[in-house]
């Protein structure tokens, strides 16, 4: 890439994206001021599918509305100046030798992707996040690349300890710097990790056929922006190839398949202007709207997409009730349907989750719930005083709540399995679950019970029991249950997620001075 204003801008946004990605993590403060959700908040595809699916408005998406207005005025500049995936493609494409473009991807393919997605949203199935370029990039980073970086670095660090022991401490400052600023806090293995990375790699592999193959032929966000860009007052002069030159065809990364640069294809990268041997090209604002083809796609496409969306939306609703019992959603999600309509499946909540409680659903939530966040308590529990997932959720699918409210939100309810739980099954003391229950009044309590021990003698054991009304389903009990593999207490999903009472978690005013809190 040559250093021109658009290219520098691209790099700045790519760095910003990666910086915000790394910042989407607990850094010693309860609030995250800047997170990578900013990129979704300006994403018109997220906005449009949200509006169609929920049929309601959220102020969180105001920046995306501004992006729509900007695109209407300027054209599809997002793709050429901002999109981090586009920048990555521009960076790698120069290393990839091209064969011929794939004919099958030409024509209306991109509309056949975008419109059924939007139509399905209208029928309450919001899958746009699956194909949103920023979400694709973020998922590959969150589920595979970042954990991989952490794993490799940490294994090296541990290996060093095994080799030289305490003497490793002399290198600790350097490692701590990397650990605190770059690595994930702990190494997590995610389901769908390879799949997520494979999609990104697939998009990069498409560069073998032509540059920005994904962007010009598939990307639903790009297609949407391109369609909005048709109304732009800002266009290239001359619009077509000059009869004596034609160099633009080589320079243009997206549009000059035909002899005319269509506005919906132009990403305003300005490469043609920079490379023109005759200095003929300029991008000028004009009051006149220059027509380029019909504004709406053909009727067959519209109707087909509408039907396609409906066909997609109905069967996706199928849910296996068995699996639904463990379909635990992040705190604050009270209604499953509402959640599915809003969730972008970007993976940010899973990236930020303190205790790695959240994992992408692969099969648990059906096709409809692919990549949506799922609490798996045996792997990680929801930290009582943490509100990060709500803070980073771009669309408010997980609401951002003050900590007092979040503590009371119900994820599920814990249930003892008396065939496994030690005091019941083996008549011995344990109650690690009670110890860890964070509710001030204790949702898990225990009572002394006279039982006949397995040795035939009477003894007293502490039997735990659940006070269901004040259990918020955080799952710490299931996580810390000292039984191997299957826990003796498990959290199950509930339909009624009315928050637990304020009294249960009451914390009175501070009574005495404490210099450090």
């Amino acid at each position: 890439m040559k250093s021109t204003v658009p290219r520098i801008c691209q790099l700045i946004f790519l760095v910003l994206f990666l910086f915000l990605f790394v910042q989407t993590e607990y850094r010693g403060r309860d609030e995250i001021s800047a997170a990578v959700n900013a990129f979704f908040r300006v994403d018109p595809l997220v906005l449009l599918s949200y509006l169609l699916a929920t049929k309601s408005w959220s102020w969180l998406l105001l920046p995306a509305l501004l992006m729509v207005v900007a695109t209407l005025l300027l054209g599809r500049f997002f793709c050429g100046w901002i999109c981090p995936l586009g920048t990555i493609l521009d960076l790698v494409t120069v290393k990839i030798r091209k064969t011929a473009p794939i004919r099958a991807l030409k024509g209306n393919t991109k509309y056949w992707l975008l419109l059924p997605l939007l139509s399905a949203s209208l029928f309450n199935l919001n899958l746009s996040g699956l194909l949103d370029p920023i979400a694709i990039l973020l998922r590959a980073l969150t589920f595979l690349l970042h954990p991989l970086l952490g794993l490799v670095t940490r294994e090296g660090w541990v290996g060093l300890y095994r080799a030289i022991g305490e003497r490793r401490d002399t290198l600790a400052p350097a490692y701590n710097l990397i650990r605190d600023n770059l690595l994930p806090f702990r190494d997590t293995l995610y389901p769908l990790a390879l799949f997520s990375a494979a999609i990104l790699l697939g998009i990069i592999a498409l560069e073998r056929f032509e540059s920005r193959n994904w962007c010009r032929n598939l990307c639903p966000l790009g297609t949407l922006l391109g369609w909005l860009g048709r109304f732009s007052r800002f266009s290239r002069v001359p619009a077509g190839l000059c009869s004596d030159c034609g160099r633009c065809r080589e320079l243009c990364p997206t549009g000059f398949g035909q002899d005319l640069l269509r506005k919906e294809d132009c990403i305003l990268c300005l490469e043609c202007q920079r490379g023109c041997p005759h200095d003929r090209i300029s991008f000028l604002p004009s009051l006149k709207l220059r027509e380029s083809g019909p504004l709406l796609p053909e009727r067959r496409l519209l109707l087909g997409s509408l039907a396609g969306g409906l066909l997609l939306a109905l069967p996706a609703r199928f849910r296996n009730p068995e699996k639904e019992s463990r379909l635990l959603r992040p705190p604050g999600v009270r209604n499953e349907d509402d959640f599915l309509k809003k969730c972008v499946r970007c993976g940010e909540c899973m990236k930020v989750c303190l205790k790695n409680a959240l994992y992408p659903a692969s099969y648990q939530a059906g096709f409809e719930g692919l990549y949506t966040p799922l609490v798996i308590p045996r792997l990680g529990y929801c930290e009582y005083n943490c509100t990060l997932c709500g803070q980073v959720c771009p669309t408010g699918a997980i609401p951002s709540l003050p900590v007092e409210a979040k503590r009371r939100e119900v994820i599920g309810k814990a249930v003892f399995d008396k065939n496994h739980c030690l005091p019941f099954a083996r008549k011995i003391d344990c109650i690690v679950c009670e110890e860890h229950c964070p509710i001030a009044e204790k949702a898990i309590r225990s009572r002394d019970v006279q039982v006949l021990g397995l040795d035939g003698r009477f003894k007293t054991v502490k039997e735990p029991y659940l006070v269901e009304e004040i259990c918020n389903g955080c799952g710490i009990c299931e996580k810390v249950c000292p039984l191997e593999t299957k826990a003796g207490i498990e959290v199950f999903a509930v339909k009624n997620r009315t928050p637990i009472s304020r009294q249960a978690i009451v914390q009175e005013e501070k009574r005495f001075n404490d210099p450090y809190n």
């Binding site: 300890y161 303190l354 930290e383 344990c430 009175e508 450090y516 809190n517």
Partner: protein, 294 residues
């Protein structure tokens, strides 16, 4: 003195000598528990240490010292789930003043370690101090140790605690659902790795096993405020009682035994204390413990 009386008295003296010497030694070994009281927590912590003979008695110049507070929970210090940051800081300062080369402060937390270190106030209290490390646990540093105990034959213990010259145990006194109270003996769980919940099935014996292996050179119990119910993590300020006390002893069992009385309980009520006493790890009979107000 004639020959007869000389022989008699010498003989008696010889016969009695071992008994007398043993008695004299026993008197010197009698467990000493110091209790300091006041609202200035650094001052009472210092006073308690001074009454035991000063930190120099435990820490020699160039020593690596581990100060092991309770940082187990994501709770603010007023909720009495973690050791008070001022007590921890003062102990660390005393160690440095005594010439410690390095003081390491850590705990294997129950909640997220980052949040525990921050919200307990302990990380903040130690910030910027030279030669002080307040690192979160690094799992590779756990190593399997042969305990040959009654319940635990071996367990993973934290290398830094084992390799330190001096190990100072700084628990907070609080209620616990299973063991009734958690004090000095139970605070050792913070250097244990692995599936710690496993030991709950025979907690008092397991803790005696570990404490027999890892002796605290000095135990300083933070009872500036104690958690009287819903322990060990509490969460309700109504369960917190302000006592403004710091207890110190070289005998963890004795320190625990005295701290038990602050809750209106007797040492014999606490199985962990009883098991450690029976193992010979210290004295739990209050009438055999010398209690000194500092």
């Amino acid at each position: 003195m004639n020959r007869r009386s000389f022989i008699t008295s010498t003989g008696t003296a010889l016969l009695l000598a071992p008994v007398l010497i043993r008695e004299a030694l026993a008197a010197r070994e009698q467990s000493l528990v110091v209790v300091a009281e006041g609202t200035d927590y650094p001052a009472i912590t210092r006073k308690a240490i001074a009454a035991l003979g000063g930190m120099k008695k435990f820490v020699k110049a160039g020593d690596v010292v581990v100060v092991k507070p309770n940082i187990g929970w994501d709770r603010s210090s007023e909720l009495a789930a973690n050791t008070h940051p001022l007590v921890v800081r003062t102990v660390v300062e005393e160690c440095l003043a005594a010439g410690a080369k390095k003081v390491k402060v850590f705990d294997n937390t129950c909640n997220d370690s980052r949040r525990c270190y921050v919200n307990s106030g302990i990380e903040g209290a130690l910030k910027g101090m030279k030669n002080v490390e307040c690192k979160q646990i690094e799992t590779e540093r756990f190593r399997k140790v042969t305990l040959n105990g009654t319940f635990l034959k071996e367990w993973e213990l934290y290398d830094e605690a084992l390799s330190a010259n001096v190990y100072i145990n700084v628990p907070v006194a609080k209620h616990h659902g299973l063991s009734k109270l958690t004090l000095g003996l139970k605070n050792v769980m913070g250097i244990m790795g692995g599936n710690r919940g496993y030991i709950h099935r025979n907690l008092e014996v397991a803790l005696a096993d570990v404490n027999a292996h890892v002796k605290s050179h000095l135990t300083i119990i933070d009872a500036t405020r104690i958690l009287t119910a819903h322990g060990p993590q509490g969460g309700n300020i109504a369960d917190v009682k302000v006592l403004n006390k710091v207890i110190a002893s070289t005998d963890t069992v004795a320190a625990d035994a005295f701290a038990t009385t602050l809750f209106g309980l007797l040492p014999a009520d606490i199985p962990v204390t009883v098991a450690a006493y029976k193992r010979g790890l210290g004295e739990m009979n209050l009438d055999k413990i010398r209690i000194v107000k500092a």
